[in-house]
Symmetry: C2
């Protein structure tokens, strides 16, 4: 039996949902007067006052918060282990005073959920990983806390929680992006504890990138989700690279959502633009510029999920990563459910990724097994 | 001998340079008081008043306007034919009254240049394409002309110019992007005349996408050129797709710069987001949405240049295109010259693309030959 691990799967714990219910600005939850499902409004482009509240954002169901629904989804799709993470926008929007409290609360809640499920699915602790459902988690960080030391302390505390396997983070960092020097203590703590950082988009691109708000919303969520999200990730990690973060912290481990956004495809162009940039010291300018190449960082520091919905993306991801050893299966659950509302069917968003993995490496069973679960078990020390 | 055709190579004719010299706002040319080379300021991010005029933008040399320098570059790199095109920002910035005059002037100038060079390199017209240097051209369109019919007339007139092989166009269209319905007569004329449209970026992304103007310029041109340009192309062609342009004009032929920006890598995600978009009629919404899939359009309407600087990008491009038959070698000359200023050496920006093509398809000589020149000769009817 092949071990299957889902490293890209989100939860909005009930406590978090209730916190969003108390809010009236993005992100927030709105319960319609009718018996219709609650609406989750997390993207600023969704908070459009011309749309009635009852129709704003997206309808959400128990798959967002009920871990039993997650387990049923796993069983349906043959997934053994899920490494769950708080979904965007995490705690980015909280006041500094709230952030620390909520980070500890969410992370303790994730740990308790994993412990409870894993005891239930294997009371004696005797079954192998591929014979049961288990949960692990990426923690969340209080990035708006008053001082980076609070973030560093939480990174260290996570190592004491047995089911936590790293952290998930957005692209805004302490509010000014991931090339912000004030993040150095955070990178240092992640490197020192060898905690994997799962870098995930949320903010997308400004509407102007798509021709303005009206042009952006004309096609629903397609432009922000299909193009804005991957670019946000690419920009964030490229800014880290250009600022020398990977030169200063050469053992940093980063898992990039959606197969790196577009990093594998653009890596060659990024490297060429760096080599031709007159402002960099290497070319006679006065800006430091990165010392290590994009390719070296891709093959040393970066891991990619396999959530890219096609062989074209997967082939670029593997070519950029140098091997199939850095590519990890994921689903993005509970997002992109089937729209016909049938509960008893496979999710096309998941089967598309399964098919792409088999089509890309189908003649190489070892690579398929590595991408589906072997890599995750090794990198995240799952057992 | 393998025929080598460069389909991505730009010129700024002298007349165009002089027109830019008379301007004081982007785009413009500034001649320093000293004997230093002229400065070309075409990106709005370059027009930074905190930088002295003599240092603003980029220094330009004869490679930008002197066709003999282009021919020397071709000989050095083994290129037989170049399909030259006016570089960005074309005529986008002209008043409607000026646009029509300048489009005709530039296109007649391109035709005359090709005719003159081709007569000089093969006076008797007896040598095969791979035995000589020849030029062909993509024309430019007066998109700010007062009426689309003037654009349509120029598309038709280009068919009477023997060396013109299609048109180059930016992403702003008539000013509102390429999903603007007012462009339908232009698409219709391109389809009817089977003129290839070379879609090329210029505007990039708003500085806010990179964290603001200061964050954007911190790394010179790297973020706008390496990430902004490819995303601009991707957004433009995705908006065309979402608006049903390829449904209404199923025989449109588009060559996308920089291997599609990021389209090959993101095609799967775009398709998945379309299939999950609640606003589209197919999913119970009230917006039409595209009828043909991204994959079908990629394999029917779209051609990709091979200017992507690595095997990762090329592998995605070929997987998305379905075969090597839709991929065409290019250089982006005169951009990305070697920074050490030596004239007698190969350009790393060119050799990187040669190496990537050989590394990606090296065991398949037929594919290498097709990408290097065979595809261009077939698609553009070069002879």
């Amino acid at each position: 039996m092949t071990l299957i691990v889902d490293i890209h799967t989100h939860v909005y714990p009930q406590s978090y949902m209730d916190m969003l219910r108390a809010r009236k600005t993005v992100p927030y939850v709105h319960d319609p007067q009718s018996n219709d499902p609650p609406r989750l409004i997390i993207l600023s482009s969704d908070d459009d006052s011309s749309i009635p509240l009852d129709k704003r954002g997206r309808p959400v169901d128990a798959s967002y918060w009920d871990i039993d629904v997650k387990l049923a989804f796993m069983r349906r799709h043959g997934i053994n282990s899920s490494v769950i993470s708080l979904a965007n926008p995490w705690l980015d929007f909280l006041t500094p005073a709230e952030a620390q409290i909520w980070a500890e609360r969410i992370n303790d809640d994730l740990e308790a959920t994993c412990a409870r499920v894993n005891r239930a699915t294997d009371p004696d602790g005797t079954r192998a990983l591929h014979e049961k459902e288990t949960l692990f988690a990426f923690g969340t960080l209080p990035l708006s806390a008053p001082s980076p030391s609070i973030v560093v302390n939480e990174i260290k505390r996570l190592k004491s929680l047995p089911h936590l396997r790293g952290v998930i983070m957005g692209t805004s960092g302490l509010g000014k992006g991931l090339d912000d020097e004030r993040l150095d203590p955070v990178w240092e703590a992640l490197q020192e504890t060898q905690s994997l950082l799962f870098l995930h988009p949320h903010y997308g691109l400004p509407d102007e990138a798509f021709g303005g708000a009206e042009a952006t919303s004309r096609y629903g969520h397609v432009l922000p989700l299909a193009l804005g999200f991957p670019l946000e990730t690419t920009i964030a990690v490229t800014r880290m690279l250009l600022a020398g973060v990977f030169d200063r912290f050469p053992r940093l481990m980063i898992l990039l959502a959606h197969s790196g956004g577009t990093l594998p495809f653009l890596a060659g162009r990024i490297e060429s633009c760096i080599l031709h940039e007159r402002n960099f010291i290497a070319n006679g300018g006065d800006v430091q510029g990165p010392k290590r190449s994009v390719w070296e960082v891709l093959q040393t520091n970066i891991y990619l999920d396999a959530v890219v919905y096609g062989t074209a993306g997967l082939k670029a991801a593997v070519a950029a990563a140098g091997s199939t050893d850095r590519l990890l299966f994921g689903t993005d659950h509970p997002f992109f459910p089937p729209l016909d509302g049938k509960e008893d069917e496979d999710w096309p968003s998941v089967t598309t990724n399964y098919k792409a993995i088999n089509a890309s490496f189908g003649d190489d069973a070892e690579s398929v097994a590595a991408v589906l679960g072997g890599n995750a078990a090794r990198i995240l020390d799952l057992k």
